[in-house]
Symmetry: C2
Subunit: 352 residues, 2 copies
């Protein structure tokens, strides 16, 4: 029997391969695989469903991840997918498997994070499964959300001349991860040292750590777009990195794009730590991932209204497909965007 | 900080502990944790949602589990929960994490099983997540189903004098597992033996293996109950074992029960192999688990109609709570039913 390595297909190629040719049997299935959520219609209610895995050693490292934060983040990852469809999350199911050394208090901490996330976003925790695991901690969450019928936003709706917008700032979670990984290495080299030497000094970098450990899904942006009467033409959340997500929108919408380096929103801590690590901050913002911000396109006519929304930034515009997907640097050079973001199937188990 | 071992609470105690005090915020949440599915209402459509984890080394052993069968079974476990609410499954999401040695062909085999299960039960595979795993194979599936509003059946509806019914036969999956475990042990002792000596002889036992490796959720029973105009008063599926499930129904319905050993449906292969293993076949049927049959109660007035349904067996009746939950043996003795079934948190990682 022949053997094909998963890495030859990549994460998205693999999903395409596994799900090709699936055609819905039920009238209630409006949209299956291929967007942030599946879209279902029951009695004209439009339901959004998304499900995400978080595996120890791949998606998180318990050395520096408090369990309460992990529960919170796991919920946010799912809520963010619902917001990215222009919906509101309503119900959450949590499957969790824990290793032998886990205690009831460990599970309590995870659930404290889940409960807080649900409280903050008006979501009901309605079910799930608990199991032991022979190995690491596994979280698998599923979120159901609701969209006004016809108001859900897919990745495929961007048109030539639409504006490309992103919320918040980018690259901060990635820099937070770098700081945590550096401390972990330092700690590993200090075994036997005095306790006070083991206290990491993250002074002034708290924002970056919070962005990585306890991200917040952008319900506020969805609500403000509604209030402003703006319906994005395409939207997704930034989990793998801006470049990767923008290329998904362009490919599914059959368009190109031009974004401008100088317009990519950055926090000053992100820039400072990138310099400290000798990294190009734009590369971090484009490919870092795990920002859980919203990336969306709006018609050009909405320019003034969208620019007036707090914490939303216009970073470029959609073009015809033959113009490609392009980053215009500060000095006016043009580079094709490339997806180099998070990939859960790379050789080193995820991170690159 | 204090530390409580999970084993002190047990699986069901743990779920109660983690989910206590959860109160729904959304009008669309009709029922949360505590039954086979959560029940949601969107525009008067009643949706059922269930999610289950399958962990390598806890729930399955790849030494004797073909991946296609594993995919099929993972889907059935979820469909069965929907049928147990008197609903029909409609959409399935599959999260899968695979170790480094897994190939695209391995994932294809799992998906072949999922697709076949979906085809056989009219379900759409609408999403999921794929990831690598540092350790074993993990499957986390979520199923959405639909019930006619008001027709969903909970565990809590059984009344004094109702008949206790079960579909199919019990204990076969457990005996199939015993056969597979015995072969695995034998194989481990035969390293270096000639290939023909390594071929297990399961002649005449195929039914038991199939019951364990490729169970079939009882859509047919749900449909036949509908055709017969019978709505069960309480229902759940037999995944942990008849005793355990019946005690759930009794406890949630605040009733007792009397079931009769002689009426518990058994396949002759189950009885033959139990004898071969020197096991009490009734104990296997009561506590074996993984049967994925339907256990339900119907009003006494439905006796004739329910008895006329093919492959459904009346095994006893519901009593007042003070009469307890009792098994009447063939020789007329009475024993209290005890939950000794499957528990994913026991010392040996699951199986007992």
């Amino acid at each position: 029997m022949s053997r094909t390595e998963i890495s030859t297909l990549g994460e998205f190629g693999l999903i395409r391969h596994l799900t090709e040719g699936l055609t819905p049997r039920n009238a209630s299935t409006l949209r299956g695989v291929g967007d942030d959520c599946a879209v279902l219609s029951y009695n004209d209610s439009h339901l959004l469903v998304t499900s995400d895995l978080l595996m120890e050693g791949i998606h998180f490292d318990l050395v520096y991840t408090p369990l309460k934060h992990l529960g919170y983040k796991a919920a946010m990852v799912n809520f963010s997918d619902v917001y990215a469809m222009n919906g509101l999350p309503r119900q959450l199911l949590c499957n969790v498997a824990v290793g032998r050394r886990a205690s009831v208090e460990d599970l309590d901490a995870i659930y404290d994070g889940l409960r807080l996330a649900c409280e903050n976003h008006g979501v009901d925790l309605v079910g799930g499964d608990t199991s032991s695991s022979l190995t690491g901690l596994t979280l698998s969450l599923t979120c159901l959300g609701e969209a006004e019928p016809g108001a859900e936003v897919y990745r495929s709706g961007a048109h030539d001349t639409d504006l490309v917008c992103v919320s918040g700032d980018l690259g901060a979670a990635y820099m937070g991860l770098q700081l945590l990984e550096r401390e972990k290495m330092a700690l590993a080299g200090k075994k036997g040292a005095a306790a006070e030497d083991l206290q990491p000094d993250f002074g002034g970098r708290e924002y970056l750590l919070e962005r990585f450990l306890k991200p917040e899904a952008r319900r506020d942006v969805v609500m403000r777009l509604r209030e402003a009467g703006i319906r994005p033409t395409a939207m997704m959340d930034v989990s793998d990195g801006l470049s990767s997500e923008l290329l998904h929108i362009c490919s599914q919408s059959h368009v190109g794009c031009r974004i401008y380096e100088e317009r990519i929103p950055l926090d000053y801590q992100t820039a400072a730590v990138a310099e400290e690590f000798n990294l190009n901050v734009t590369t971090c913002a484009l490919n870092g991932g795990e920002d859980y911000e919203l990336l969306f396109t709006v018609p050009l006519a909405d320019h003034e209204r969208v620019a007036a929304i707090d914490d939303v930034h216009v970073i470029g515009h959609i073009t015809r497909p033959e113009q490609g997907s392009v980053l215009v640097t500060r000095d006016g050079q043009e580079f094709p965007l490339r997806a180099q973001g998070w990939n859960a199937f790379t050789e080193d188990g995820g991170r690159q």
